[in-house]
Subunit: 224 residues, 2 copies
DNA sequence: AATAAGATGTGGGAATTCCAACAAAGGAGA
DNA sequence: TCTCCTTTGTTGGAATTCCCACATCTTATT
């Protein structure tokens, strides 16, 4: 497990924690590392909600599905991101969402309650962890708000452009790579994949954007 | 300000805090009570993000608006609910949303950083406050996820029914009152008001629901 | 009670999305 | 290289939403 300590110290949940303290801390929190193959779930809707996950490698996605099989992607989780903390911190008894691997991935699982409750040994990193957890929860709020902002646009085109220009801003360049395929992007924006593909084609032909696979380039400042 | 201590002790942010401790705590946190008239803002997009608000009376709503004036209601805030904490805890420099009064309301404003940082006097309620804040952030996450679940449905009718059956479940009765008018509900669900009105009429005629003003009644278990 | 202002319901044409089916392109493995 | 399988792009008709205009109902004010 030591080989992950470097990676872990870069996760925002463990920000400020010394790699040398990692071992005792993970012991205290009941840490466990798990490998997940592409398309497999780590959490399924209905599972008990007491674990927090931290993505170590690969990409995960949190999804909801309704009776009719309509899939909604809530968030795309990259290495360093955590998930599940909101449900545990809100004391839900079961998970209202599933989390699945978009690619082969590795995940660290922790017992969330042990972050919240000071342990018997009064580990000195608890205060730090709690501050990090607050920041994580707040950031998750922001990312949900962002998704809502995209979904609130009325047309497929404007949802797409809102997302793409946000990506350009976040990644600091008009050229960037998105962390998902077309189907996942459509499920994230809440639109039909084929309709979105059609819009992408139109935007390409009009010269507003260029794209190939997961690579995109915004041609003008025209944020429709 | 004393007259609010009872109310405050019922807010989840202050859960477990004794009304008699309220005064020193509010002093420590820089508490300030403000009255807001209907339609007036307490926060505007772009304002510095360092305050947390707690609704004491009335109803507030957090909203986003885009270039074209399309309004999106992120959440409807009732007495006891707090707002703004996510932006402050995520260390944003400015608010990405506005918060306005849906009715004449009273709001308690606190300096959020002072909740997070142990004060010089090491107030004994800090630990409690931080736990409450975590729960608030987690619950806000859940409420955003709910909104996303409604918005992810494809038709206006199913968005509406998802919301209404959730309300019935939350309020524990097939009869209930929603905390907003039609326009606000439409802006919350991300649909057109007039189209939503039409759907409501159809659902009434089909006998699935009954409604008058903010009162609703679900007639069958038929969660479309 | 009269009036005004705001909220809600109704209607229809234009625009958009959904949906399903299929074509084309890309990638992995034999 | 060839084949299979997955992803992406294309198309057209049906269904839905948007948008505007206006009727009706409600509430507040004088």
């Amino acid at each position: 497990m030591q080989k992950y300590f470097e990676t872990l110290s870069k996760c925002s949940l463990f920000h400020g924690i010394n790699p040398s303290d990692m071992e005792s801390m993970l012991g205290c929190l009941g840490g466990k590392i798990i490998a997940i193959s592409k398309s497999d779930p780590i959490f399924l809707e209905g599972d008990p909600a007491n674990l927090v996950g931290v993505v170590l490698s690969g990409i995960m996605q949190s999804v909801q599905e309704d009776y009719y099989g309509n899939r909604s992607v809530l968030s795309i989780l990259q290495p360093g991101d955590s998930f599940g903390e909101a449900f545990s911190c809100a004391s839900l008894e079961s998970m209202p969402i599933s989390v699945i691997a978009q690619k082969d991935s590795e995940v660290l699982l922790l017992n969330c309650k042990r972050i919240l409750s000071t342990c018997t040994q009064a580990c000195h990193f608890h205060r730090l962890l709690i501050n990090n957890l607050i920041k994580e929860l707040a950031n998750k709020n922001l990312s949900l708000s962002k998704k809502i902002r995209y979904m609130s646009k009325k047309t497929t085109k404007s949802k797409l452009m809102a997302y793409l220009s946000d990506q350009a801003k976040t990644q600091g360049s008009a050229e960037f790579v998105i962390p998902c395929d077309r189907q996942t992007l459509a499920d994230y924006l809440g639109v039909e994949r084929s309709a979105m593909s059609a819009e992408i084609s139109k935007l390409k032909k009009s010269g507003y954007i260029d794209t190939k696979g997961s690579w995109f380039c915004l041609k003008s400042e025209n944020t429709l």
